[in-house]
C-alpha cells in the first residue's frame, strides 16, 4: 500500500470517510473513489453502477467495485438523483486505478441539498482521518 504521504489527493474536491470523493461541476456533483481506495483495492476488474434516474440517500450503497476475488461496496456521499454514469468503466474498469479523479469518475448527481457538500471533509481533514486509521 502507498504511504499516506504518497497519495494523490487533489485540493479542489471533498472526501467522505469511506474514501469516496465529490466535486462540483456547475449544477451537478461528480463522485468517484479516491487514490487511497483504488490503491487498497488493487486492480479493478468490474464496476457496477446504478441506472441514471435512480435516487439515493447519503450513505446508501450505490454500486460495487470488484478487484480480484473481492467485492467492495460504494457509498454515496450526498443524497441526490443520478443524472449520469461513467459508461467507459464498463469496458475499462482499470480507469479507476489509473485516473481516479478524471477518467475514472463513477456517477454524476443532482444533489438534494448542496450544503451536504460542505459537510464532507476537505483534504486536510481527510488526511488527519487517514492518519488516525493507522
Amino acid at each position: 500500500m502507498k504511504e499516506i504521504s504518497e497519495l494523490n489527493l487533489p485540493d479542489d474536491i471533498h472526501y467522505a470517510e469511506d474514501h469516496e470523493w465529490a466535486r462540483w461541476e456547475d449544477e451537478t456533483i461528480k463522485i468517484g473513489i479516491d487514490d487511497y481506495a483504488q490503491d487498497q483495492l488493487g486492480d479493478i476488474v468490474f464496476v457496477d453502477l446504478p441506472q441514471p434516474g435512480s435516487r439515493f440517500e447519503k450513505g446508501e450503497e450505490f454500486g460495487t467495485v470488484e478487484s480480484v476475488k473481492a467485492v467492495s461496496e460504494l457509498y454515496i456521499p450526498l443524497s441526490g438523483e443520478i443524472v449520469a454514469i461513467n459508461k467507459d468503466l464498463e469496458d475499462s474498469p482499470e480507469l479507476v486505478n489509473h485516473d481516479p479523479y478524471e477518467d475514472g469518475w463513477m456517477i454524476e448527481i443532482k444533489p438534494d441539498d448542496p450544503r451536504e457538500y460542505e459537510q464532507l471533509m476537505d483534504k486536510r481533514t481527510y488526511l488527519e482521518m487517514l492518519k488516525g486509521l493507522e
Partner: protein
C-alpha cells in the same frame, strides 16, 4: 482440543504489547468454531459481526470456522450459466442456490469442506486487498503442506491448486473497510457436486481434496486445528475463543 495450537493468554484489545522482558506480544483475534451450520445462518452471523466490528461494539477482528450443509453460492458478478449441465442436477438434489455479496463466481459448499470466515478491519491493519487474499491463500497452502501436499497459487486463477486440480477457493467482500466471507478448503468432501457447475466460472478443471491428495482419511476437525495454527502465524495474532454467549454479552446482538 481444537485450539491446541492457540492456547496462549488472550490479550486486551490494543495492537502491540510488550511484556516485562520486552518481547512484543501479539494482537488477538476472537475465533468461533461453529459446528456444521446452514449457509444462511452463518451468513447472517457474519453480517451482524461486520456491523458490530464497524461500530466498534466488537473491538477485535474475529474468525468463524465452520462446515455447511450442501449449497451453491453465486458471487456478486456470477453469471447464472456457471450453474450448468442441462438437467439441473442441483435442483434435482434439492440443493439451494444463494446469491451473495462476495467476489468470485459460483461455488459449492458442503460437508467435508472447511469454511473460514475472517472478519477483519483491513484499514486498521494497513492491509490491501491483494495482500489479504494472498494471505488467505497462504493459510490454505501451509495447511495442505501439513499433509505433504504441494499446493500452490495460480497466476491466472485465484485459489490454491495442485496442478490443474483445485483444492481451495477464496472470495471476499468489503463493507465499510471490513472484510468478510473468506476461503473454503476441500478436506474430505466428495468432488461430485462441483461437476454440476463450473466452479468459479472455470471449465475443464477438477476439484480435489486434502484426503484425496494425501490418499488418507483426513477430517475437517483435524484441518481446523492446522488452519488455526497457520492463521495465527500468518496474520501474527493470537486466536482467543469467543463463545456465542460472550459475543452476545458484548452487546453485539
Amino acid at each position: 482440543m481444537i485450539s491446541a495450537f492457540a492456547r496462549h493468554a488472550c490479550l486486551p484489545d490494543k495492537r502491540r504489547f510488550r511484556n516485562r522482558q520486552g518481547t512484543t506480544l501479539r494482537e488477538s483475534w476472537f475465533f468461533i468454531d461453529l459446528p456444521r451450520t446452514p449457509y444462511g445462518e452463518a451468513l447472517k452471523l457474519q453480517r451482524r459481526l461486520v456491523d458490530a466490528r464497524r461500530t466498534a461494539r466488537l473491538a477485535r477482528d474475529i474468525v468463524l470456522l465452520t462446515e455447511h450443509d450442501p449449497v451453491f453460492t453465486l458471487g456478486r458478478h456470477s453469471a447464472a450459466e456457471g450453474y450448468c449441465t442441462g438437467k439441473s442436477p442441483a435442483m434435482r438434489e434439492g440443493i439451494p442456490v444463494v446469491a451473495v455479496e462476495r467476489g468470485g463466481n459460483i461455488t459449492y459448499h458442503g460437508p467435508g469442506q472447511l469454511v473460514v470466515y475472517p472478519i477483519v478491519a483491513l484499514h486498521a491493519r494497513r492491509l490491501d486487498v491483494r495482500t489479504y487474499v494472498s494471505l488467505l491463500e497462504e493459510t490454505m497452502i501451509r495447511t495442505a503442506l501439513h499433509w505433504n501436499i504441494p499446493a500452490e497459487r495460480n497466476n491466472v486463477n485465484p485459489g490454491v491448486w495442485i496442478g490443474a486440480r483445485k483444492l481451495g477457493s477464496v472470495g471476499i467482500a468489503l463493507r465499510r473497510g471490513i472484510a468478510f466471507h473468506g476461503f473454503a478448503l476441500n478436506v474430505s468432501c466428495t468432488p461430485e457436486p462441483f461437476n454440476w457447475i463450473s466452479p468459479c466460472g472455470l471449465k475443464g478443471i477438477a476439484m480435489t481434496s486434502i484426503a484425496q491428495e494425501a490418499r488418507a482419511p483426513v477430517t475437517v476437525d483435524e484441518a481446523r486445528i492446522v488452519v488455526h495454527h497457520h492463521l495465527a502465524d500468518i496474520f501474527s495474532v493470537e486466536l482467543c475463543p469467543a463463545d456465542m454467549p460472550a459475543i452476545a454479552g458484548m452487546g453485539t446482538f
